[in-house]
Amino acid sequence: MNYAQLNDQQIAAMLGAIGVRSIDDLFSVIPDAQRLKRPLNIPDGVSELEMLRDLRSLTDRNADCTELVCFLGAGAYDHFIPTVVDDLAGRGEFLTAYTPYQAEASQGSLQAFYEYQTMICQLTGMDVANASLYESASSAAEAVLLARGATRRNRVVVSLAVHPETRQVLDSYMSCLTLDLATVPMADGATDPSVLADAVNDDTAAVVVQSPTFFGCIERLADLARIAHDAGALLIVSVDPISCGLLKPPGDLGADLVVGEGQALGIPLGYGGPYLGFFAAKEKYLRKMPGRVVGMGADAEGRRGFCLALQTREQHIRRERATSNVCTNQGLMALRAAVYLAAMGKSGIAAVAAQCLDKAHYAAQRIAALDGYSLKFQAPFFKEFTVQTGRGVPAVLKNCRQKGILAGVPLGRWFENLADCFTVAVTEKRTRDEIDRLVDALDTA
């Protein structure tokens, strides 16, 4: 394929207008020694039909969640996505627009992002939100950087119950900086408040927790907020946005910064990306926030309009003193989340959350009643829970997979002491029949 649109006569005329004899002449500045003297070693281009065949030959070797029954979670969830989300967010005008620097030419995307920001605030109970970051883990890292700047402190305390990949990413981000990262252990699948209280000191910039935790348990955020705030530290909460359809939002429980993975909000599993990092904060941190923020104002004639706000925080203006280096964000994913949230609305999000709760508890009860399986933790959970089994996790999961069921995420990879555990996530999309099939498969494993 070739997407250029010039024919030979046109090229000749253009070269004439430029005043050179060949396209090669335009590259004359590149010294010979710096040139590639052979064709790129990349297969020849193909037509659309061949390309589709190639892609199909690749997808044929993937087993996807339209064929399998997915109980995997751990940060990526098989929630239902209304058809309108694809159709509306997929419109070419949204897809092929750039960042809305030219406000007058971008009122559509700007308004959509303003509405997105608002809905993220409504979900999380926070005051303000940005227009997206890459995904949850790097958003958590950005939150830590904000906390460091806001407190001028250099220690960060992270709960062991935070997603291990998030902790890994925090590690990488912190490694270049003079920032201490301390991890506090957990009790019953959630942060142990007494250990946390000991770990937090007056050089602590932030406490980072996740709720529900990586193990599915709901954190008692109010207690954790008190501990953080008592020490002058910020509480950073990574939250499952779907859980906000049912649980008290972190903003009501003392969180200073709320981040999280927006994938659950209308974004396909996509093998892990592109996803959506959302970022919400108390009002006072607005000017320290990373990423783009859309504001509402007026045009020269006083009509309502939208534009990027607080650009002076950003890299293209503030350069090395910017609040973050982020430039390209996840605009289209934020749009998807916005369409999803607007489609669901107040009652829809509550219904999704309620069904997750009911179905996860139905599954947990039935699994716990099986011989050789038990629930690892007693703390309340929302849509995901940790199962312990003496039957050998890999064998159990493999048996389920053979029956077309993705039964859970094994924990041994990250936690040696939990090698006999796996987490099971149950979304509103799962049917009782599918859960029963899971239970049967586990039983016969």
Partner: protein, 492 residues
Amino acid sequence: MASGNDMTTHHQNEAPLLFEKSTPGTCAASLPRSDVPAVDRNAVIGADLLADAPPQLPEIGELDLVRHYTRLSHRCFSIDEHFYPLGSCTMKYNPRINERAAAMPGFAQVHPYQDESDVQGLLELLYRLRMDLAEVSGLAEVTLQPAAGAHGEMTGLMIINAYHRDRGQPRTKVLAPDSAHGTNPASCTICGKSYQQIASLKSGRIDVDALRQAVDDDTAALMITNPNTVGVYDEQIADIAEILHARGALLYLDGANLNAILGIARPGDFGVDVMHFNTHKTFATPHGGGGPGAGPVGVADHLRPFLPVPQVVRRDDGTFAWDEDRPKSIGKVRSFYGQIGVLVRAYTYVRALGGDGLLDVARKAVLNANYLAARIKGRYELPFPPPYAHEFVALPHFDEQDISNVDVAKRLLDFGMHPPTMSFPIAHCLMIEPTETESLASLDAFADALIAIADEAKDHPERIREAPHTTPIRRMDEVGANRKLNVRWRPE
């Protein structure tokens, strides 16, 4: 909707906020009735953890939702409708087949924690892309993990940091020319590096003497963009690399402008140690109104130990896998593996074009830029001498009429064209990158528009100063919006 403003077009009618349209009790989505028993929430969760009421999201029926977003889509300029010559952004055509590729269930409906045996096709795709990008860049190995260009810069700097540490010589300073993109210095900060700016010459090239003076034993790296952001290929690049390498420092290439040299010159061949790619520029993945992109990072051989984990590899038995075994790795820069859906698009683009096609991209991108420059030369100042790479800088010199580059940009909107990049990398400029996918008719229409505006500056300067006239809103009062901040809706 039926505003009092009777003479406006239907496209320009007010677009009320979702919240203003909310009607309690309506909903655009539907769920199956639950087929499991409802739990006692107070018992299993506890009243203290339960919300008092659901979040106050808007309530909208499906038709009104469709109308809302259809209308908003009509209030956006986009490549699909408009010429969009944003310099340094490579706003080329985003092929529709790439969208179809990314939407295939075998790519889009896969969970990141599925077993490798479930995703062999996808892993092979990623592996091929990894190898193709290495080939394009002439570098030893590529990671696909970073989420965007800036994220790639950060990843690259982390790698550089790890490299110096590993050699027992931690270094704190990073240099970049003054024409560097804002993300370069910002990435330095996020990586705890101090940033030092190097002057450029009149020709747009880096001042090698200044560079030589700035490089010392604490210099971790120089970040450079080549061709740079004024559209000039800096042929000193090999010397620059030598200067750095001689002092143990590394050369980082900001790959935003790779489009101009695809198949012609390779960073790895002219001395680059680390670079990032912007798939959403060079490899035609859509910008999506801000993102998502992807920022793969390539490194020379000596930096391979420090690449992020996991890496997609091909095992001896021909299967594909994620390899975590890289003891000196900087770790992970994001969760899971990367912007997979974006990478699927990039793969589709690379394979559809092939090696020859990529070379053709560079040739026509450069041709188009130089043609546009030739067409407006004389009416706009071109501060740097041709030939240009894939983009060039122009200055509107209508100062006598008090017309700024912003005014010109806004006036272009009335011609149905998106303005170039503004005031970067030099003050008051327009930075113009047409890309290879534009037709001659589009290029000519744009040149005609710029010339018409130059004419208009004499006869009707107010038309330009008051532009735009034809967009859904007139010129936005950005100062006012920043003064009276309103970044979210609240009920009255």
